[in-house]
């Protein structure tokens, strides 16, 4: 048996490794060498708690562990941390060559790409006091600045991670301003009602929410640390700490010379196969999801777990010459802000109709279905987990609007 390499030892990569060892229902797992490399010098943390429990101080960073962190020994991995993959050769007759940052050239029979995303930065020089939240180092540096008791934190970007950072900083008793260039939070991806709700939720809690104003530049003090944020409309907001949450970019630069198609990440077929002997999964993978008839790249925790497992099994199929099966989930994710649990399942677009099916937006506890023609594209719940899960199960069966709406029709 040859060697299989997994690039990325985070959520998706480790679940792929687990599946490679476990095998599929009718075929055994890989019992040869299984090399797992990650550029990070330590095992990457579980990321959702970083903007929640770790940032609030409720947990130590060490408590944010991915589910498989305690079972790595059982998987028999050749784990190489602090080692990046730098290039992947096109497929030859019996494999590929994966080159690593320490100069090693690994001959492999198969590769899993699970390199996730890297945060986007604001243009201009990197100033002290300006942070992102993606890695353990990021959150440790941010915590040190928050512990110093800043007089104001400015959050740039009102997407889910920015909104969580704003909520958690507010929970620490800090003054917070949240800036969003668009007219409403998440306006490009979700119906306007959702963004309006998120903005109001934060205003209720005393966050200074400013919409429709982009950042022009950051101003540094004599100490080289950020002192103020200049907005496109000429306003200036004082800031001791800035948290930037303006999205992530899939990490694919190192694959530029390979035979893979790089479009919105690593482009795969519907089974997560990216090319001969290569699969991809997690935040870096783009694939046509047959359930929705749409190409998508999903940056959600559960997707990394499920797609990782699927990709691992797909690679076993590929190496054994078996056809794969399509990966066709209803994506799901959650976000915790203050005492609200926001959950979304499906594949919404900004122009979908927002149809309230339970509760009211005003009481901040509701469930809504999103409608596009005769389709239900998604369900959103705020402190309504049962409604979201029921609708999600229905959406997994069919996207027909009538079937989803019937779940919540008043019973007489």
């Amino acid at each position: 048996m040859g060697t299989i390499a997994v690039v990325g030892a985070s959520l998706a990569g480790l679940h792929a490794a687990e599946a490679l060892r476990a095998g599929t229902g009718d075929a055994p797992g890989h019992d040869g060498q299984l090399v797992v490399v990650d550029a990070s010098p330590t095992l990457p943390p579980d990321r959702p708690p970083l903007s929640k429990q770790v940032l609030s101080g409720e947990w130590d960073l060490a408590q944010a562990k991915v589910p498989l962190a305690d079972r790595l020994d059982e998987l028999g991995l050749d784990l190489r941390l602090g080692t990046a993959a730098t290039s992947l050769s096109p497929a030859g007759g019996d494999g590929r060559t994966l080159t690593l940052s320490d100069g090693t050239e690994l001959s492999v029979e198969g590769v899993v790409l699970a390199t996730g995303g890297a945060v986007r930065h604001l243009p201009g020089p990197q100033l002290g006091g300006v942070h992102s939240i993606r890695t353990g180092e990021d959150v440790t540096a941010l915590l040190a600045d928050l512990d110093a008791g800043p007089s104001r934190v400015v959050v740039v970007g009102a997407g889910f991670i920015g909104a969580e950072a704003a909520a958690t900083c507010r929970g620490r008793g800090l003054e917070v301003t949240m800036l969003e260039a668009a007219a409403a939070p998440m306006e490009r991806v979700l119906p306007g009602e959702v963004g309006a709700f998120v903005a109001d939720l934060h205003r209720d809690q005393g966050v200074d929410v400013r919409l429709g104003t982009g950042v022009e530049r950051l101003e540094a003090g004599d100490d080289g640390r950020v002192r103020a944020v200049h907005l496109a409309d000429g306003t200036v907001v004082q800031a001791d700490v800035v948290v930037v949450g303006i999205g992530v970019v899939p990490q694919v630069d190192w694959l530029a010379g390979s035979d893979l198609e790089l479009r919105n990440g690593v482009l795969c077929d519907s089974t997560m196969l990216a090319g001969p002997r290569v699969v991809a999964c997690g935040d870096v993978a783009c694939w046509p999801n047959p359930h929705f008839g749409e190409e998508m790249r999903v940056e959600h925790w559960e997707n990394a777990v499920e797609q990782g497992g699927h990709a691992g099994r797909r690679l076993l199929d590929e190496l054994a010459g078996r056809p794969g099966t399509p990966f066709a989930p209803v994506p799901w994710f959650w976000s915790d802000q203050y005492d609200r649990k926001i959950q979304l399942a499906g594949r919404p677009t900004a122009t979908d109709e927002f149809v309230l099916v339970d509760g009211t937006v005003e009481e901040r506890r509701f469930a809504a279905l999103f409608r596009r023609g005769d389709r239900c594209t998604a369900v959103l719940g705020v402190n309504r987990p049962r409604h979201v899960m029921q609708a999600r199960m229905q959406l997994a069966q069919s996207l027909a609007w009538d079937d989803a709406a019937a779940l919540f029709a008043p019973k007489d």
């Binding site: 499920e306 959950q343 987990p385 199960m393």
Partner: protein, 63 residues
């Protein structure tokens, strides 16, 4: 098989209910209820899957 939920970890997101509604139920009060703490063997696969997918790793399945 015995199902034990660590309610200090559980955040009632109902993922387990989506997989094994026979065993797990999140009610209108937003709390998770274990409907059947000793489910039959026919439910083992579903319960193990729920434990695996719980984002909080709050579910333990004892033999």
């Amino acid at each position: 098989m015995k199902v034990v939920v660590n309610f200090d970890l559980c955040e009632s997101n109902a993922v387990c209910m989506g997989i094994a509604p026979e065993v797990f139920e999140v009610r209108d009060d937003d709390f998770l209820y274990v409907l059947n703490e000793e489910p039959g063997e026919e439910l083992r696969d579903k319960v193990v899957e729920a434990a695996r997918r719980c984002p909080k790793q709050a579910i333990a399945v004892e033999d």
